[in-house]
Amino acid sequence: MKLSREDKIFDLINYIVLGAVSLLVLYPLYFMVIASFSSPEMVNSGQIVLVPRGVTLDGYKRLVQDANIWIGYRNTIIYTVFGTFLNIVVTVSAAFALAHRDLVGKQFFMGYFVFTMYFSGGMIPLYIVVNKIGLYNNPMVLIILGAVSVYNLIIARTFFQTTLPPELYDAAAIDGCGNFRFFIQIAVPLSKAIIAVLVVFYGVGHWNEFFNALMYISKKEYYPLQLVLREILLQSRMVEQVATEAALIDLQERQRYAELIKYGVIVVSSLPILAVYPFAQKYFVKGVMIGSVKG
């Protein structure tokens, strides 16, 4: 197909705009990586813009020796693995039941779940409940909280509704296959795609979890990575504020340490997500699309 002059101009502008947007998105990520390999003096004097300079692994060496980071890393891996496992079991089984044609009271149950998307008790009542049942400062809280997200439940239910046709239920019933066997042997194997979507959504959520940890965990040994990160990344900000008025020596000491490792910490903490990203991205696109079907 031959392009008209107008279309050629359009294409050109389009490529320029999209190229610029891509660079704008990519650059901060790229900057963190090159800064993590550059000498802190160079970074701090603003000499690192496009390529790493004064290449050094000092930041990473310090970071490897930092016990807090590794405790946070280990905790986050535990929370993510067990939390996501619980999410999948609870969500998939409930979604199957809600999609099943023979469930009596479907309307009621759907209303029961959906209502919580629009109304909640709020921060304080939930805080009191969590405290009452002994989950405060209990690492289990970061595994249990958010065990089922109603949004994901609806996505999974929509998936089951579209992949399990009525004939399949009939065939299973004729062969004397009970509901539980039907779930385990037919529905679950057929739902690999939706399970992958849910693993991505829930898994990223656990990895990046900050709020629940802030609310319910105060013991350092249970800190997830994000709380450790916050201490490292956001304390240097405090220095910047006071430095204009008076120098605080202790804070500056800690700031110097933070300056050294902060880029490496950003890279290392985001690495697992970026590593699975190429694999995961087709699944979350799918998830958003299934989610939009119901709307």
């Binding site: 389009n14 603003g46 409930a94 009596v104 779940f113 921060m123 939930l126 439940l153 990046n208």
Partner: protein, 307 residues
């Protein structure tokens, strides 16, 4: 008679399918404990909470907490901060993913298109802590790369986190950076559903790409856009806690204190449970009312609604 037989038939059916209820049970219990029990705790908003007496035993104080909140000097600022930040975010954050989706969709080189898509979704998966950390690093007045560029252009470096006037821009623009790609997915998939026949017919009639975007693509994603807009308007008062909280400092506090961070500070840090629960309830009721109104409006105008 007919009703009782129907009831019995249903009961029989439920019994036969008891397994389904077992499968539903964990999710049901979770939502009961972590969603519905806290709703019961809303009564705290009308009580003077004493830990020893529990939620039920604490004495009633009626609307005292609400009165205190409405009368407090913080009230006007906090509500205004919440609404203005949220509306600003909506105003900028809503159209950009649509524009992006239109541009990506009309990109004819498949490889470039895929590359752009994969790249711009990525920031969505970065944690809020890292995002705010990155912002502070890049915008530092002494060492930030943005200020390096500003001063190389001959201008004075800007202390972005040190002046309250920048807070809202930083919040909204970083949100655009992080989420524009992800939020465009829904429009891109809607555009993929547009029949190519229409485009072909338009090409035959000599329509340019620009014209086709304007008269074919845009109208065909309008329903999706309307639903998204309505949903976002319904959430104007429920702006997220995490990013605002992490971006706060003593300087930007006059514009950065919003309802959710206020609840956190009053309730969790100062343990003023009753008062905080009242502020929370105030916020939830407004949210819910907004949602109901917006949903009704949507049902009337576009025929689509949330329930």
């Amino acid at each position: 008679m007919r009703q009782t037989t129907a009831f019995h038939a249903n009961l029989e059916k439920a019994k036969r399918n008891y397994v389904l209820y077992l499968l539903l049970l964990p999710a049901f219990l979770y939502v009961l404990i972590f969603n519905y029990v806290p709703m019961y705790g809303i009564q705290l908003a009308f009580k003077d909470y004493m830990a020893g007496l529990g939620i039920w035993g604490s004495p009633w104080v009626g609307f005292e907490h609400f009165g205190r909140f409405f009368a407090s000097p913080d009230f006007k600022d906090i509500v205004w901060n919440t609404i203005s930040l949220s509306l600003y975010q909506l105003l900028v954050g809503f159209p950009i993913p649509i524009l992006l989706a239109l541009l990506i969709n009309s990109c004819s080189r498949f490889g470039f298109k895929k590359y752009v898509q994969n790249l711009i979704y990525a920031p969505h998966f970065i944690s809020i802590v890292v995002l705010v950390g990155m912002m502070q690093i890049m915008m530092s007045p002494r060492s930030g790369v943005i200020n390096t560029i500003i001063s190389s252009l001959g201008a004075e470096p800007i202390f972005f986190f040190g002046e309250e006037k920048y807070f809202r821009h930083l919040y909204v623009l970083s949100g655009v950076w992080q989420n524009m790609g992800f939020n465009s997915i829904i429009y891109i998939s809607a555009l993929a559903g547009v029949s190519y026949d229409m485009h072909e017919a338009a090409i035959v009639d000599g329509a340019s790409k620009w014209k086709r975007i304007l008269y074919i693509d845009l109208p065909s994603i309008l329903p999706t856009a309307m639903i998204m807009l309505i949903m976002q308007v319904g959430q104007v008062m429920s702006i997220g806690f995490e990013k605002v909280y992490l971006m706060q400092n003593s300087i930007n506090m006059p514009v950065a204190e919003i309802i959710s961070t206020y609840i956190y500070k009053k309730g969790i840090l100062d343990t003023d449970y009753g008062f905080s629960a009242a502020v929370g309830l105030f916020n939830n009721v407004i949210n819910f009312t907004l949602l109901v109104i917006v949903n009704k409006f949507s049902k009337k105008t576009t025929g689509s609604s949330l329930w």
